[in-house]
């Protein structure tokens, strides 16, 4: 049964990477874009200036780096696990965003939003109770 548990372990580890990297990358990109704003695009030189400011922002580069790591993790886990398993399980990232917002950024998170996070977690638990791969047997 060693390979069985290894199979589950690597699936859960990569889904963990997916739900950490994706929101972190998005938060960094959003922070980066807010530091380069306000944007006024009236001419080509405005646009070029904006590009320079965007691509010299460390937040943007870290954001892109995290999103790349997210995409690679996503590709890797999809090489063996069902899409209908990975996609809903990745929705845990909504919970990560709410927690990050509440504890790291001290943003107010409404009761309805917390309820949504709890419902997502219940859904992920239900999906997580099924086998990650239903297409072939080894």
């Amino acid at each position: 049964m060693k390979s069985f548990s290894d199979f589950h372990l690597k699936t859960y580890i990569l889904i963990f990477f997916v739900v950490i990297f994706a929101p972190t990358g998005n938060v960094l990109l959003s922070k980066g874009m807010k530091t380069v704003s306000p944007i006024s695009l009236h001419s080509l030189s405005d646009f070029l200036q904006l590009c320079v400011r965007v691509f010299t922002s460390p937040y943007i580069w870290f954001g892109i780096g995290f999103l790349l790591m997210f995409f690679v993790s996503y590709l890797l886990v999809l090489s063996w696990a069902d899409y209908s398993f990975v996609q809903p399980a990745s929705a845990t990232s909504f919970g990560v965003v709410a927690l990050l917002g509440h504890f790291a950024l001290k943003e107010p998170v409404s009761a309805i939003r917390w309820l949504g996070v709890i419902v997502i977690c219940l859904g992920v638990l239900a999906v997580g109770n099924t086998h990650p791969r239903t297409t072939e047997h080894k």
Partner: protein, 125 residues
């Protein structure tokens, strides 16, 4: 109104089909078992040689720009709950296009995730 509906449809259909194509590409590569950096790099090189991967990325790009377009017309708190339908579309696509067996328990989970994502965005500021 018609434009808006078209954009929302594209976000869900193109986005989900794109991810399904990417999944199909990765399934042709087969289960990754070696996680050393050089081996992972070789997997990625093989992955970008699969046509399904490029079709998937193109569809995901269409969905991304449709999302930007929809967000320029409508509030994010309306657009994103609609895109939560992608989870249902994904499970259906997984069954039809990838031959996955979506059990009743998995369907219940998928539908709970749809409802939860909708609540998260309704509860936004």
């Amino acid at each position: 109104m018609a434009w808006e509906a078209l954009l929302l449809l594209l976000i869900v259909v193109a986005g989900t089909s794109g991810e399904l194509c990417v999944t199909r590409a990765m399934k042709t590569i087969g289960e990754v078992k070696d996680f050393r950096p050089a081996a992972l790099f070789r997997v990625l090189i093989r992955a970008i040689q699969v046509p399904w991967m490029w079709l998937g990325i193109a569809l995901m790009a269409i969905a991304f720009f449709s999302l930007l377009g929809a967000l320029s017309i409508e509030n994010v708190s309306f657009v994103v709950p609609v895109t939560a339908l992608s989870y249902a579309a994904g499970a259906l696509g997984g069954e039809i296009f990838l031959g996955e067996r979506v059990s009743r328990r998995r369907w219940v989970g998928v539908l709970l995730v749809c409802v939860g994502v909708t609540l998260v965005f309704i509860g936004g500021k």
